[in-house]
C-alpha cells in the first residue's frame, strides 16, 4: 500500500517526527498555553512565537466523514473513509478511519488513533472505533 508522502517545514516537522514515534503531537503556545493544529509559527490568541510539542491522548470523535470514490488512487481501498476527527483536546485533524465498515460509522462516534506504515516507510496516523469514555 502506497501513500503520498507529506512535505514538512521547520514549523511542521515535529508533528511527523512524533507520528514516526507513535505520538500524536500538536503545538502548545508558550505564551498562553493554547493548543493549535495544523502547526504554524504564531499563536493567534497572544501572538507568541514560543511553543512546545504537546502530546494529545489520540482520542476523539468523528466530526465529519466522506468516502471519496472518484478519481481512484492507488494505495486506497474503495471505498476508503476520510474523516475529520475532533480530539478530546478540542482540536480537529483529518485522517482515515480503519477497522470499520462505512455503514457502521456515525458522526459523534468515539475513535482512537493508531499508526500505519505504508510503502516506502511512510507512517500516518489513522483512527478506528473506540469504546466510549
Amino acid at each position: 500500500m502506497s501513500r503520498i508522502e507529506p512535505s514538512m517545514s521547520p514549523d511542521t516537522a515535529f508533528f511527523w517526527e512524533g507520528v514516526a514515534q507513535g505520538r500524536l503531537l500538536v503545538q502548545r503556545c508558550g505564551g498562553c498555553d493554547a493548543l493549535r493544529h495544523p502547526p504554524r509559527p504564531m499563536c493567534p490568541a497572544c501572538n507568541s512565537l514560543a511553543w512546545d510539542p504537546y502530546e494529545t491522548t489520540g482520542r476523539g470523535q468523528v466530526y465529519s466523514f466522506v468516502m471519496p470514490r472518484h478519481p481512484r488512487y492507488p494505495g486506497f481501498d474503495d471505498p476508503h473513509i476520510a474523516v475529520l476527527v475532533e480530539l478530546e483536546e478540542g482540536l480537529r485533524l483529518v485522517s482515515n478511519l480503519g477497522e470499520v465498515e462505512p455503514e457502521d460509522v456515525t458522526i459523534g462516534m468515539p475513535v482512537e488513533v493508531f499508526y500505519a506504515t505504508f510503502e516506502g516507510g511512510i507512517v500516518l496516523p489513522q483512527f478506528r472505533p473506540a469504546a466510549p469514555t
Binding site: 517545514s9 468516502m67 478519481p71
Partner: protein, 390 residues
C-alpha cells in the same frame, strides 16, 4: 467597504470565447480573444485601456496581453488570489481604480484550458513534484480534489440540518434547465431531471454525485470597466457597480477550513454579504436574479443562507426548482451556471449578469432591478451587486 464606490463605475463591455473541452489554442490566445471581444463590445480601442486585472492563477501575463492587443501603456495592474474566489474581486479592483482616477479603462480577464490543459485536482502533477505544505494534511489521506475538500465540509452541514444529496439535486436541475436554452452552454439542449441526478455516480459519497460537480472547461471571458460618467457615452446600457466586495473569514484555509467553531456556513461569503448589503442599502428581497457560484451544489445552499435569502438550515426547503427557476422568487444562474454553461471560474456569471441588465440574455428575466453575483465558495471570495440605473 463604505458606500463610496456605489454606482461610480460600470461594466461597459463583455467578451468571451466559445466554451469547449479542447480549445486547440493557447491560454494566451484565449485571453487576447476575450479582451478584444470585450473592447469591441464596449466600442473602445486597445489604446483606451490603461489597466488590467486578472487572477493570480491566470497564466497570461498582463504585459503579454497588452503587447498582443497593442495597449500602449498600463498605469494599473493587479491580481486577485484564491482561484474562483477572485472573479468579482477583479471588478472591485477595477472599479476602485477608475473611481479614484488611477485608471480610465480597466479590463478584467480570465482564460484557461482547464479541461484540455492543467485540470484542478490533477493528481499526476501533484504526485510528481512533492506535496505543497498545506496539502500534506489532506492528500496522504486521499483528499486530493476540490470535490473531496468541499464534501468533508458539506457533510457536517448535512448532518446538522438534515440535508440530503437529493436536496442538492434541485440546483443541478435548475442549472441544466437554464443551460438547455442557452446556445453558448456546453449542455445546450441537454436538460436533466432529479431522477437523472439521483442516478449519477458518486464522486464523494454521500455528498457529491457526478451531477453535483461543475464541468471543466476551456475558454476565456473579459469585462471592461470605466466610470459611470464615461459609460453613458458608450454603446450599451451600462451595468452599474452598485456594490463590490471581497471577503476572507478567520482561521481559514484555501479550501480546507475545517478548524472553525462550526462547519455549517461559509464565513467568507458572510463577510462579502455584509458589505454588499451595507454598501448598496439593499436587502435580499431587492434582488431580481442572482448568479451563485456553483462549482459544487452544496455550497449553493449554504450561500443562500449566508446571503440572507433564507435562514440558517432553511435552504433545503427554499432551494426548490420552482423558486430558483425563471418565474420563481429568485431565479439563479440563467446561463446554466458553472454546471450547465461552462466553468469559467465565475467570470461567466458576471458576463451573464451584464446581459440580464441589457435585456439581451437568452433566458431573460423581466424587469431586472438588481443582480447579485458571487464568486468561488469555500475559499476567500468576492461578490457584486449590479444595477441598470442608480
Amino acid at each position: 467597504m463604505t458606500a463610496w464606490l456605489k454606482d461610480r463605475a460600470a461594466i461597459v463591455g463583455i467578451g468571451q470565447t466559445e466554451f469547449s473541452k479542447a480549445s486547440g489554442r493557447t491560454e494566451l490566445q484565449l485571453a487576447c480573444e476575450a479582451v478584444k471581444a470585450a473592447l469591441d463590445d464596449a466600442g473602445l480601442r486597445p489604446s483606451d485601456v490603461d489597466g488590467l486585472v486578472t487572477f493570480t492563477m491566470d497564466t497570461s501575463d498582463e504585459i503579454e496581453v497588452a503587447r498582443n492587443l497593442g495597449i500602449p501603456h498600463l498605469s494599473m495592474f493587479s491580481r486577485i488570489p484564491y482561484g474562483g474566489g477572485a472573479a468579482a474581486g477583479t471588478v472591485l479592483h477595477a472599479a476602485m481604480a477608475v473611481a479614484t482616477g488611477v485608471a480610465d479603462v480597466v479590463v478584467c480577464y480570465r482564460a484557461f484550458n482547464e479541461r484540455s490543459g492543467f485540470r484542478f485536482g490533477d493528481t499526476g502533477s501533484v504526485l510528481g513534484g512533492g506535496l505543497p505544505l498545506w496539502l500534506s494534511w489532506y492528500a496522504p489521506y486521499g483528499l486530493l480534489t476540490p470535490a473531496s475538500w468541499v464534501a468533508l465540509h458539506a457533510r457536517r452541514y448535512m448532518h446538522t440540518y438534515g440535508v440530503t444529496n437529493e436536496h442538492f439535486g434541485a440546483i443541478a436541475v435548475v442549472d441544466r434547465h437554464h443551460a438547455a436554452t442557452n446556445p453558448d452552454a456546453w449542455f445546450y439542449q441537454r436538460p436533466i431531471t432529479l431522477a437523472d441526478h439521483q442516478a449519477s455516480r458518486w464522486i464523494v459519497e454521500p455528498v457529491l454525485r457526478l451531477l453535483d460537480c461543475c464541468q471543466e472547461s476551456d475558454g476565456g471571458a473579459a469585462l471592461v470597466i470605466t466610470t459611470a460618467d464615461r459609460a453613458r457615452d458608450l454603446a450599451h446600457r451600462p451595468a452599474l457597480i452598485t456594490a463590490a466586495a471581497q471577503g476572507a473569514g478567520g482561521d481559514g484555509e484555501m479550501m480546507t477550513s475545517y478548524y472553525r467553531d462550526d462547519l455549517t456556513g461559509l464565513p467568507e461569503m458572510g463577510v462579502v454579504a455584509q458589505q454588499l448589503w451595507k454598501a448598496s442599502g439593499l436587502r435580499p428581497s431587492h434582488i431580481t436574479t442572482a448568479f451563485l457560484y456553483d462549482h459544487f451544489t452544496p455550497f449553493v445552499l449554504m450561500q443562500l443562507e449566508e446571503l440572507g435569502f433564507c435562514g440558517r438550515g432553511e435552504a433545503k426547503d427554499f432551494a426548490t426548482v420552482e423558486n430558483l427557476s425563471i418565474g420563481g422568487v429568485l431565479p439563479i444562474n440563467t446561463n446554466g451556471g458553472l454546471l450547465g454553461e461552462a466553468y469559467l471560474h465565475g467570470m461567466n456569471g458576471i458576463t451573464e449578469s451584464v446581459r440580464q441588465i441589457r435585456g439581451t440574455a437568452c433566458n431573460q428575466v423581466p424587469d431586472v432591478e438588481h443582480i447579485l453575483v458571487t464568486a468561488g465558495t469555500g475559499v476567500p471570495t468576492s461578490g457584486l451587486i449590479l444595477s441598470p440605473s442608480a
